[in-house]
Symmetry: none
Subunit: 206 residues, 4 copies
DNA sequence: GATGAATGAGCCTTCATTCAT
DNA sequence: TATGAATGAAGGCTCATTCAT
């Protein structure tokens, strides 16, 4: 058995922290209660985590990394299609990726709950914005490629892009924020893909 | 004559509170500093407001009411068009209403900033959700009317509706959250209207 | 009576802080006990002082300022004599100044006790060194004047000057550190003046 | 063969402790870090030392003993000269002893640094005073001898003696406190010897 | 009616030492 | 015997709210 006392306690802190952060949010959750929930004294906590924010990071960072990877792979796939000119396939990939995202998020439901709803007071408050910025970078890259290829399309302003991309992620994350069931979420984002691909087409005139 | 000392002080508290809440958020803003900013003592504060949250409400409630009214009027107008069968006009109204909303929000920029970005720790944290719920009620009502009129369309699930409506408001509020200029915002929501009307059409198949 | 409740409490904190800092030293004295000694809660403390170190500063700063002024006056007097060539008078002034210093220190006995014996952990730990540096500056200035006037003397190294000046102040402060009575102290520094003037004469060969 | 694992570890703790005590002072240095620096666990520490203060003692006690011995020898030599009436030689011995002291201190620089600058919070805080007391005992003994021998001299009060002796040691220790180089220190105490012998002569009138 | 000093519970964090394994 | 997780008491500090003046 790989679970030493240390690891057991560590796990208990993680669980207790998760529970309390979700229940009350980062700031209102207090360490004493988290420790009580983990069956340890406050002193013991600091053998496991540097401080309160460290615990939050530990809770949330792996999920962020995982999503980042998923995103990175999807990104590559999309650009391949764009480069080979199969624009239509991009929309399909987009839909598939969305499903993957949702599945990943529901595999780490609590982490994303934490990130999206309980992170006020941490450096993760603006997690959605961060995701949006990433996506915008890609959108701009896509613009460049289309231009290079001599494909005609309407450019819209940065602000407009931002708004729409934000809207997109805000939909995706809504499934976690409002405790959708996995199946509901998957169905919803299907609709979302349709909705958005139609919107984009109209806007950029492809 | 309308500006007694009392009212003057009241106004000063309002201003100071607004400033500090925006600067630090509801919880991290502290009452002593708010009072200092208003040139009063902490004791005097409680003559004007029941407690900290009351001040926040006072700051924010008028804007909510105003928006509610705007919303109500728009709602009526939309239903009139739906009832008379001029579906196409509904999309136009939608776009116009959006402009009005934006203008209203920018007329009360600070209040909406407060509501959308600084309300963690108050009962207003979920302001966006509340707006979304309102809109959903209308969407459902519209469904009923279309049905009554025998007009064919695709029904989508509550969750899907929720997600898309949320997305819509999340766009609208994004203009405040990211400090768009009024003109930018107005232009953006124009795009948004196009984007969404196209999306909706596709989804519900009208 | 100018003593409002605030000032009364302020004074009580000062007294309690002084007592506890002297008893245990800055670091080992704790705020809760200081407050208990002052008959207030810890919260109240922070209406009077920014933090623990602030209280220490308040206790000690006036005495430092006072000494600085005394020093400044003595300095001027000495340089006047040096400039007019009455070197012999300088030794006399030196002795008189020492008496004044001692009297000043005994007028603010607790403050100097604090400064010299209880300041570990504050920015005042090296108070003696600071005084020594001041005096050394003057010694060097005196060197320059003697040189300008063409008076012959032995120069000794900075380190030697430092050591001897340190020794001088260490004597002076010893009277506080070891709770001499004022009269004892005054008599002692008389001897000290003799002792040091003899030493200096020999060393610099005047 | 003399370096068992135990002794090796012991030595490592000594080194790590020395480093950290010097760096932060006794109280602010923390045991966990000392142990980490020694490559052991906190539990293991207590197999080598009873507690934190024990470690400090171990670090510092040998140097104290060594100095004590040096002192004792010097003391005997001085009294021999006094008894045989060679008062002048006493001053010379004094200067020689000082050189030896300095050399000894610089041979065990860290220990004296610890003793003089990092001992706040231990029973060694007043090491200088302890040295002074020792010297004073000798001074009084010398008084007695002079008296017995019918030699005339000015008696000065205990407090005066204390002050001047303190001043003397405070010079000596200053060389460690301010990180003089050995050569600087040796030169300085030469000056010191001259300075003080002149002072003493004047004061006691020999 | 206004003042503002005081409350008091709460917060995160530190650390020498102990003790089950 | 060595380990190192856990203890537990203490520390400095914050803040919405109360209440004697």
């Amino acid at each position: 058995m790989s679970s030493s006392t240390y690891e057991l306690t560590h796990e208990k802190i993680i669980e207790s922290g998760k529970r309390l952060f979700i229940e009350k949010g980062y700031e209102r959750a207090n360490l004493r209660e988290i420790c009580k929930g983990a069956g340890i004294t406050t002193g013991a906590f600091y053998r496991h985590f540097k401080d309160k924010e460290s615990l939050f990071s530990a809770l949330v960072e792996p999920a962020i990394q995982g999503l980042r990877e998923k995103y990175s792979i999807a990104e590559d796939k999309c650009f391949d299609y764009i480069l080979e000119g199969s624009l239509e396939k991009v929309w399909n990939v987009s839909a598939e990726v969305l499903q993957e995202f949702i599945n990943y998020m529901f595999d780490h439901f609590d982490c994303f709950k934490l990130l999206l709803q309980c992170s006020d007071g941490t450096k993760y408050v603006n997690f959605t914005d961060w995701m949006v910025e990433e996506e915008i970078k890609d959108t701009l890259k896509m613009y460049d490629i289309l231009e290079e290829k001599g494909i005609e399309f309407n450019r819209i302003s940065m602000k407009e892009i931002h708004m729409i991309v934000h809207s997109y992620y805000s939909c995706v994350f809504e499934t976690v924020l409002h405790d959708y069931k996995r199946e509901e979420a998957l169905q919803c984002v299907n609709t979302l893909a349709t909705f958005f691909s139609e919107g984009w087409r109209k806007i950029i005139g492809l």
